[in-house]
Symmetry: C2
Subunit: 490 residues, 2 copies
C-alpha cells in the first residue's frame, strides 16, 4: 500500500510541529509525542501519512535519536502510529473507546448531539430559499433541452452577479464573470492558473485555512504577512510591510480578504484599497480578493470594492460566493476580473470540472436579485448573536480577549494560554467541534488564538459554551484524547 | 502582463505540432504556420500562450531559424501571433470578420444556429427530471436547517449509489462512496491524491480529452497504450502490452474506460477485467476505472464491473457520473473505492472545493433509484440514432470507416485523409462544432480520426451532416479560417 500513501519530509514535519519544546527543556520525548498526537487528532497531520525516519527527524529537530525513538514508541503504544519494520511509520487514528459511529466525522449531522463551532456557516434563509427553489424548477424547464454544460455560467446568473457588483459601485459586465462551484473552486482556479510549483503566494497571517490548503495543493508556497492590531480586537493591514514583502519575496499572487477577514474580522479601509491596487499595478503582481463575507456587514457604510480602483484590469481578481450570505448547500461561487482572463480560466477549468449545476445557478440568480432583502434579517441576527456571545464570553472566560467584528460570522479570540489545539481535542470529547487557532496559520502559529463562530442557535450556543468551559477546566487533567476523525473547516 | 501568461517550451511545442512537415519537404515555413494556426483555432494551443523563441524552436524541430522566422511572420500577419520586441510572441485570436458575438463560444446555446458535435451529451430526460426536481425541492426542506456543506455526500445519495453498484454485481456500502461535482472532479481528486509532478499515468490511446487535461493540470505525464482493432471498428485492449508498459514505465496510476471507451466505443471483456485487476495487485498500481457511460449499453449483457474482482481494494477506484446517463446540467459524480481511501480523498478535497450542492444530490438520489427505467428510453433512442447516423454516413461519406459501438453516444471514424483538425476548423465556419481526432490523443496523433456523437435531434443531425459534407468538399480551397474561440469537449 506504500504507493497510495503520502509522506512528509523531516523539515516540513519540524515546521508543522511548531513550538513543541517544554519551557524547562525536560520531558522532551513525551512533549514531542504529545504534539504529534495533537496534530493528528486536530487534522493538521493527515491520516496515513508516512512520517520521517527517527534519524532524519532527530537531525531536523536537533535532538537525539533516542528522544525521537522514545516519542515514536509512545505514539505506537497510543495507536497514533503504526510501523512496519524496514518500511516506516504511518499516522493512524487511535481506536474510539465509545465504539463505532456512523456520524460523518467530516460533516456531522446538525441533528446530532455534536455542536459544530468549526464551521462558520448559517442555516439557509428558509422561506426565500423555498420560493427561489420552486421558481427555479420552473425556470429549469426551458433549459432541459440543452446538454447542460455551462463552463462560464448561465447567462442569467452572470448578469445577476454583474448587476450586484455594479450596484456596489463596481461597474461590471456579464463577460467579466465566471460562475464556479463555490468560492473555493474560484480560488483554486485562480491559483492553478497563475502559480506553478514552488511559486510564492502572499497571504495574511492568520488566514482562511482552505486557501492555505489550496496553495499547498498546487505546490505553491504561502508567504505570511502578519495582521497588525486594531482597537476593536480584529486586525489591520500594514501596507508598508505588505509592499516590502512583495518586493522581497516576488510572489506570483497576493491573496487577501479585505471584508471581515477570516478569521480576524478586520476590514480594509478605502485608502488602503487604493494603495493595494497601486502596488499591484506597480509590481505587476495580481491580487486575489476574497469577498466571501462582503454581504454580511453590520454597519451602513460598505467600503468601495477593491476592484473599483482598477475595474478592467486582470491584476485584480475578485472571488465571491453564495455560501456565506445565502447557503453553503448551494455551492455557487464566482470570479470577477477582466473578460480575457475569465475566458482563460474557463478554458483551463475542464481539467478539474465541467461547469456548475444548472438548477443551483437558477436559484442563486433569483436570490441575488434580492440579496439585500434576503440578507437583511440574517445581518440583524448575526449582530445580535455576536453581542450575545461576547456577553457570555465575558462571564465564562473573563481572561479571554475576543475581537468585536463589524461583520461576518465569528470572533477571533486571544486566549490566556497557548492551548488552542489541546482545547479543540478535549472539546471534541465534550461534543464540541472547534477549529484550533493554528488551523489559520503556518508552522504552528496561533496556538494562543481560537476562532469562535456565532452561527449556532442561541440555546445550542449557550450549551456549547458550557461544554467549552468544562473542557477548558479539564485541560491539565486531560487523559490522552481519542477522537474519531479530523475536523473540516468552513 | 507577462506575469499572467503561460509559456510552452520548445520541445513540448514540437511534440504538439505532430507531423506537420509536407511529404515533399517543400514549403516548410508555410506548412509550419498552417499547423500553428490550426492548433490555435482548434484550441489545443491555448490563447495567450507564449511560444518559444525562433532559435529554440528551430533547434527543437531541426529546421533553419529562417524557416521559423518566416512562419512566425506569416502568423503575425494573420493576427494569430502578437509579438513584443525583446519580450516574445503570444498566441491570440484572429479578428472575427463577422463581427463580435455574444455567443458563449465554449458552450454555445442550444437554440442558436450552431450545431454542436463537440459534446457527446443528451438533453435531460424531461418528465423524469421535472418529477425528481419537484420532489427534491420538498426533500430539501428537511436540510435547510443545516449548514449545507457535504464533503462526503448526502447519506441518501451515497446509499443510492451503493445500491446501484450492488445491483450491478458489485456489493458496495455507502462508506465506499464519495459524491463529487461531476465525474471530472472525481478524476481530478484521484489524480491529485495519487500522483505528483512528473509521475506517469498510463492511458488508453485515444482517450478522453479532459482526462488528459487533468493529468497535465497536475503536472503528471500520460503514457499512452494504443487501442487495438476490433471487428466492429471500435477497439480492443492488448493486455500483454498494457502489462509490459506498466512494468517498463512504472506508472503511479492507470486510467481506463472499460465501458464504451471514449472515443472508440470499445468494451473490455470479463476475462480481461480479471487480468487487469490481477495486474494491479501484482504491481501495486492503482486502476482508475471511468464508468461514465456504463448505463448506456444497447445490449442485454453488461460485463461485471471491474471492481467486482477486488471489491474492497483501494487499488481499484471506480468513477461514475450522472452527466451522461441522466443530464450534464446536474454535475453529480462519484468515486467508489475502499472506505479509507474515500475518507482520504474527502479530506484532501477542501483544497479545491467544499462539497456538492445539496439539491442536485437529492435529485440524483431520486433518479438513481429508478435509473434503468429512466435510461431505458434513451438507450433505445441512442441505438436508433447510431443506426441513422451510420446510414447517412454510408451515403454522404462512403470512404469514411465508422465504428459500430454497442453503447455510448458517439462513433469513432477513420477518415480517408488525415484532415481532422482542418475539417474541424472549416466546419466551424459552416456552423458545426467538432472535436478533431487529435483532441483524443497525445502529440498530434489521430489526425485521421473524428469522433461524431449521435446526440443531436434527427433533423439537426441531418443538417449537420450536410454542412459537414460542404466543409469536407471545401477543404482544399479553404481560405485561412477565422474563428472566435477554442471549443470545449465533453
Amino acid at each position: 500500500m506504500t504507493d497510495l500513501d503520502r509522506r512528509i519530509g523531516a523539515h516540513s514535519f519540524a515546521r508543522l510541529l511548531g513550538e513543541w519544546r517544554p519551557p524547562d527543556g525536560r520531558g522532551l520525548a513525551s512533549a514531542l509525542a504529545d504534539r504529534v498526537r495533537l496534530l493528528v487528532l486536530d487534522g493538521r497531520l493527515p491520516l496515513q501519512t508516512r512520517i520521517p525516519p527517527e534519524r532524519e527527524l532527530a537531525a531536523a529537530l536537533g535532538v537525539s535519536r533516542t528522544t525521537v525513538a522514545a516519542a515514536y514508541d509512545t505514539l505506537r503504544e497510543a495507536a497514533v502510529l503504526h510501523s512496519r519494520r524496514g518500511a516506516g511509520s504511518w499516522t493512524r487514528l487511535p481506536p474510539d473507546p465509545a465504539g463505532g459511529s456512523d456520524v460523518s466525522p467530516l460533516f456531522p449531522q446538525a441533528d446530532r448531539d455534536l455542536l459544530d463551532l468549526a464551521h462558520a456557516a448559517l442555516p439557509a434563509p428558509g422561506a426565500a430559499m423555498r420560493r427561489a427553489a420552486a421558481a427555479a424548477v420552473h425556470d429549469l424547464d426551458a433549459l432541459l433541452g440543452g446538454h447542460g454544460y455551462e463552463m462560464l455560467g448561465l447567462p442569467a446568473l452572470r448578469a445577476a452577479i454583474a448587476d450586484r457588483y455594479t450596484t456596489r459601485g463596481l461597474p461590471t459586465t456579464p463577460d467579466q464573470v465566471l460562475v464556479t462551484v463555490g468560492g473555493q473552486q474560484a480560488i483554486a482556479l485562480v491559483v492553478a492558473a497563475l502559480t506553478g510549483p514552488g511559486d510564492r503566494v502572499l497571504v495574511e497571517h492568520p488566514t482562511y485555512p482552505n486557501a492555505l490548503a489550496c496553495i499547498a495543493h498546487h505546490r505553491a508556497r504561502p508567504v505570511p504577512v502578519p495582521m497588525g492590531p486594531h482597537p476593536n480586537g480584529t486586525g489591520s493591514w500594514d501596507l508598508d510591510l505588505l509592499a516590502a514583502t512583495v518586493r522581497d519575496a516576488a510572489p506570483r499572487l497576493v491573496y487577501l480578504i479585505p471584508e471581515h477577514q477570516n478569521p480576524t474580522g478586520a476590514v480594509l479601509d478605502d485608502a488602503c484599497r487604493l494603495r493595494l491596487v497601486e502596488l499591484a499595478r506597480r509590481t505587476g503582481t495580481p491580487l486575489l480578493i476574497d469577498e466571501t463575507l462582503v454581504e454580511l456587514g453590520f454597519g451602513d457604510h460598505a467600503p468601495t470594492p477593491t476592484a473599483a480602483h482598477a475595474p478592467d484590469s486582470p491584476l485584480v481578481i475578485t472571488v465571491g460566493s453564495a455560501s456565506k450570505a445565502l447557503w453553503g448547500g448551494l455551492r455557487v461561487g464566482w470570479v470577477r476580473t477582466a473578460a480575457p482572463l475569465v475566458r482563460r480560466l474557463a478554458a483551463q477549468r475542464a481539467a478539474i470540472d465541467l461547469g456548475s449545476p444548472v438548477l443551483e445557478q437558477l436559484i442563486v440568480a433569483r436570490l441575488l436579485a434580492d440579496v439585500e432583502q434576503v440578507t437583511a434579517e440574517r445581518r440583524i441576527e448575526l449582530l445580535a448573536a455576536r453581542d450575545h456571545l461576547l456577553d457570555r464570553l465575558a462571564t465564562t472566560f473573563p481572561r479571554w480577549r475576543p475581537s468585536r467584528p463589524t461583520g461576518g460570522m465569528s470572533l477571533w479570540i486571544e486566549l490566556d494560554e497557548p492551548q488552542s489545539s489541546q482545547l479543540s481535542v478535549v472539546a471534541r470529547r465534550h461534543g464540541v467541534l472547534l477549529a484550533a487557532g493554528p488551523r489559520f496559520g503556518i508552522d504552528g502559529a496561533f496556538e494562543r488564538h481560537l476562532r469562535l463562530p456565532y452561527t449556532l442557535r442561541r440555546d445550542r450556543m449557550d450549551e456549547a459554551l458550557q461544554r467549552l468551559a468544562l473542557a477548558w477546566q479539564g485541560l491539565d487533567h486531560a487523559a490522552p484524547a481519542v477522537e474519531p476523525e479530523p475536523v473540516a473547516v468552513a
